[in-house]
């Protein structure tokens, strides 16, 4: 059991660091066992170091940095054990335009091997989608209709 856990932990940690470095260029992030000698006696810490900054108490990093850290962990888990679909609701709420663009590109790549259903209020993320679903409310009833994605040509 310990062996299976450590194998998963090390692979996910490696992915997590790699993905965070891509989302936050120059930044570093990794997981750390609280008890390296007895992993099940402790938990797992997340260490996130944005570019140019030293390691901070996790709570101190900014809202956007936290979102990038959380997404890196989700994508690292996907690499190890993919889910068949992902549903993300307004994960770009606290991302600046550049970071929203990087996340959009990354979701686009990863959507080759898993389905990503992404709710967003902003054009940046939506512009990378293969398909757009429009939702509107009339008289308290929701209606859904397909939309053309004018920001790309279909392949």
């Amino acid at each position: 059991k310990l062996k299976a856990f450590l194998k998963a932990y090390e692979q996910i940690n490696k992915s997590f660091s790699k993905i965070f470095a891509r989302l936050s260029p120059g930044g570093k992030a990794f997981m750390q066992l609280e008890r390296e000698d007895e992993p099940f006696e402790g938990g797992i810490n997340l260490v996130v170091k944005p570019r140019g900054k030293e390691v901070q108490y996790l709570e101190a990093i900014s809202g956007g940095e936290k979102t990038l850290g959380a997404l890196s962990l989700i994508f690292a888990l996907q690499d190890y054990k993919p889910s068949i679909f992902y549903y993300f609701d307004e994960v770009d709420a606290h991302l600046d335009e550049a970071n929203a663009r990087t996340v959009g590109e990354l979701i686009k790549e990863r959507s080759q091997t898993a389905q990503f259903i992404v709710v967003t209020l902003r054009e940046v993320l939506a512009s990378f989608a293969d398909k757009l679903i429009g939702v509107s409310s009339r008289g308290g009833i929701s209606k859904v209709f397909p939309l053309k994605n004018l920001t790309h040509s279909p392949y």
């Binding site: 998963a8 993919p82 068949i84 959507s111 990503f116 259903i117 008289g139």
Partner: protein, 163 residues
Amino acid sequence: GYIEKLVIEGFKSYGRQRIEIPLGEGFIAVVGPNGAGKSNIGDAISFALGIATSKALRAKNLSYLIFSKDGEKADYAYVEVHFKNFGAFPVPEEDVIVSRKVYRDGRSVFRINGQVVKEKELSDFLSKAGIYENGYNVVLQGDIIRFLKMTPVERRKLIEEVA
């Protein structure tokens, strides 16, 4: 595998008339104004798959999920999640439909391909396709930070479950 489409009737802001929401492979963006019903789509999926509590679905209890207008509640809320299989589920069918109906008295009926199943049977079935309650693949609105706010022990348990 992937979710090909949803069929929704009487669930939250989706009225009594049956509607279909086509999804499909790849990267699908759901857009529209505040209050349109976008998050209610994620709620419909989580509801049908039995992977979220009423509280996470912003409902006091299951009967709050039933469409209501002008003081009149529909008789039930019903959602079907249509999966294309491609080996995601350990069954021969190419199409797997998971559905759930909740009545005004709060009683829920789960089905897999039309066959009634207990909630525990459904969750065992879904776990084979990597779909779990509190899984990391469904991030509801405002929830993304939860991964960082977890305690170290919760995080280790998440990795253990995935291992």
